[in-house]
Symmetry: C2
Subunit: 412 residues, 2 copies
């Protein structure tokens, strides 16, 4: 059994998450512990809610993290809203649409699944037509699906959902803080994100936000837990409609995040330090500036990939700016390339899932990982590794093209 302290090897992380974290966030996470009801800690909770509202572009009162990884946030929102037999429409354009289906089914929903070819997204009208036909209580969908690198326009869908009295719940795990996500303006009722992507905080928390339409359902299903409930609260509990999970029960969680501070779990202290600092750095950078940065490094990366003679996967008009899917050249073992990149150059890029496994590499440019140095090192190393794998390339051109892109912007 190993008893040595663990030493993290040096890495440049260019996957769609988890991504590199600003040293200021890591330092914040090494601060000493506070009690969960310490006034200084509850202030930090409130300040984190403020920052989250700003980053999620919402006036919703409820905006707080679930203590778990991204899918914990997705399950918390869905299982708090969905009751046995509720109809849910899931338009899916990649793996994470299946995850929504999986979670909704387990919540007892009557799932209507609409899929499109991987690499494409939906014409909003197609979703709206299906919504009008199925008349679901909820439309649940992914904003940016990292498995294919595509991003679904949501504005028209959101407008139609509101018009038709249908809830729109969006998994924006991969897009928040990397590109425009307008919770309120797009009429999104419930939205989930994750810490380990463009927020650039370690994995382990899932910030969510939801509006009064969702809160209303949650409050109808509220059942304060035994052990802290008053006699009166116990008697008035609507046990039949009670949310099936205790950990993910948003009616209890919002009490914990309210001035009542009704005891639920013990908030993850160090993760909250990290989340606060990560959000603070986002607001300090400015949302617009941050989106612009993600687009710039995407452009440099793409120009390099093209100049090397490689091609991209998927419909470029709906590409996520923070994920670039590169087609693996015919006859090349994609995992062997990734392995050599990691082992010899300490650079990590990702493969994909299902039908795309072995077909594409996915290069992430998210949060703190989204910087010039990382893009240039990745292009240079990828060229070297592909040459070693016998791929015919325009040597030297990839990095030069990216440098040209940067220079053209800097000279402006």
């Amino acid at each position: 059994m190993s008893l040595s302290p663990y030493n993290v090897p040096a890495r440049t992380i260019m996957t769609p998450g988890p991504v590199e974290v600003d040293p200021r966030v890591l330092r914040a996470m090494s601060s000493s512990i506070l009690g969960q009801f310490d006034p200084s800690f509850t202030s930090l909770m409130n300040d984190t809610m403020d920052l989250l509202r700003e980053v999620l572009q919402t006036k919703n009162h409820w905006a707080y993290p679930i203590d778990g990884t991204s899918r914990a946030g997705i399950e918390a929102v869905l299982c708090s809203v969905i009751e046995e037999g509720d109809r849910v429409l899931i338009p899916s354009f990649g793996r994470f649409g299946y995850l929504l289906m999986e979670i909704c089914e387990r919540c007892g929903a009557d799932v209507h699944f609409l899929s499109c070819e991987w690499g494409e997204v939906f014409d909003p009208e197609e979703i709206i037509k299906e919504m009008k036909r199925v008349r679901p209580k909820i439309v649940a969908m992914v904003h940016g699906d990292t498995s294919t690198g595509r991003m679904q326009p949501l504005k028209d869908v959101g407008y139609a959902c509101r018009e038709n009295d249908c809830l729109l719940i969006v998994d924006a795990v991969a897009t928040v803080a990397g590109t425009e996500v307008k919770t309120d303006e797009w009429n999104i009722d419930g939205l989930i994100t994750g810490t380990q992507k463009c927020l650039s905080v370690p994995s382990g928390m899932a910030p969510i936000t939801y509006n009064e339409r969702i809160e209303e359902i949650i409050l109808e299903r509220k059942a304060v837990e035994r052990g802290i409930a008053t006699e009166e609260q116990l008697l008035s509990r609507n046990v039949d409609r009670r949310i099936r999970s205790n950990y993910f029960d948003l009616s209890q969680l919002q009490d914990y995040w309210s001035p009542a501070r009704l005891n639920h779990h013990t908030e993850a202290t160090s993760m909250l330090y990290g989340l606060y600092e990560g959000l603070r750095l986002i607001i300090e950078e400015g949302l617009e500036e941050r989106y612009k940065r993600h687009r710039l490094h995407e452009r440099a990366l793409i120009s390099g990939i093209h100049a090397m003679g490689l091609s991209l996967f998927g419909n470029s008009s709906v590409k996520m700016p923070m994920v670039t899917c590169v087609s693996i050249p015919e006859g090349i073992d994609g995992d062997s390339v990734r392995g050599m990149l990691l082992q010899e150059f300490g650079i990590e890029i990702a493969s994909s899932f299902g039908p795309l496994q072995g077909k594409i590499w996915r290069i992430g440019t998210m949060g703190y990982s989204c910087q010039k140095r990382n893009v240039l090192l990745t292009l240079a190393s990828l060229e070297a590794v592909l040459l070693r794998h016998g791929v015919k390339l325009k040597t030297g051109d990839g990095v030069q093209a990216a440098m040209d892109t940067y220079q053209s912007v800097e000279q402006r």
Copy 2:
């Protein structure tokens, strides 16, 4: 909106969690990020499993953390095992017995609840008799309930459960690494602990372990998730018996923690760094040494409390060594005392729940918080604050008695 970096105020934390964390653990948590499938990270996952088996005193193959706070671990084990209508017997001696009831009910269990007076625990024979009468599939109970500071002897219960083909699932959140918890020897089938108590790691993970008896049930209910399942796996899924939660589905989680590394969530990188280092420090100290340390500081604290003229709550023969419940003197506002302790001395102690609210203070001596300095500072400060609240005390005697206890051990 606050945009300043957050600064943690200086605190001495003497609650039953979250508790102080060794600076070595905090430093480990500030290490840079690794991808979840990086070979160095998957090695760390395996090493953490090794250390967990050692600390949980088990030969079980499965021993890994759930990414969530303690109750996430409890819910994960219970919801993976319990199916609609399963009979569960819950002998409860405090608030956290109610939590088990709450979670089991939400899982659809037919709950049989057995309670005893707060401050006492059960005669094991009483539990065994009830188990034989009710014939449950599962006995679920708490080992040490911090709400009352009592600890239930489990050996006889475990033996009887195994004899009667009943599963024993134990919430040992507050006791592991602070006192003897013998998973295998006591015939515990599933056990959950938390990071923020005697493991002395920040809140946010819940290590669990379970044996083949539980694994068998989980595998029967296994349903690989859409999006990563093969056609064949999809066709063979037992959808009716499928575990209701995706996030807490142990059949998927154990695939993720196996060499297959089947993608589920994105493991909480920094928390795992912290958990590994925390477990490593426990093994370095030695389990026996660590239990002895917890008993020593408990003894010093108790001698100080008694010498001050205060009295303890509950049956002392079944007291948890890491939680000391002090009766609040007649006519004194317990929260006012706690507030002054925090505000003037930067020391945090806890109140309690339900029938004990306003009746007792709970002083924790857990993990890194369990040290001489903390005990002496707490006694000195408590005396000062009580004097300010008009309590008649034997001034000076509390700290002197604790110092005597330490000296008598050091001179041996």
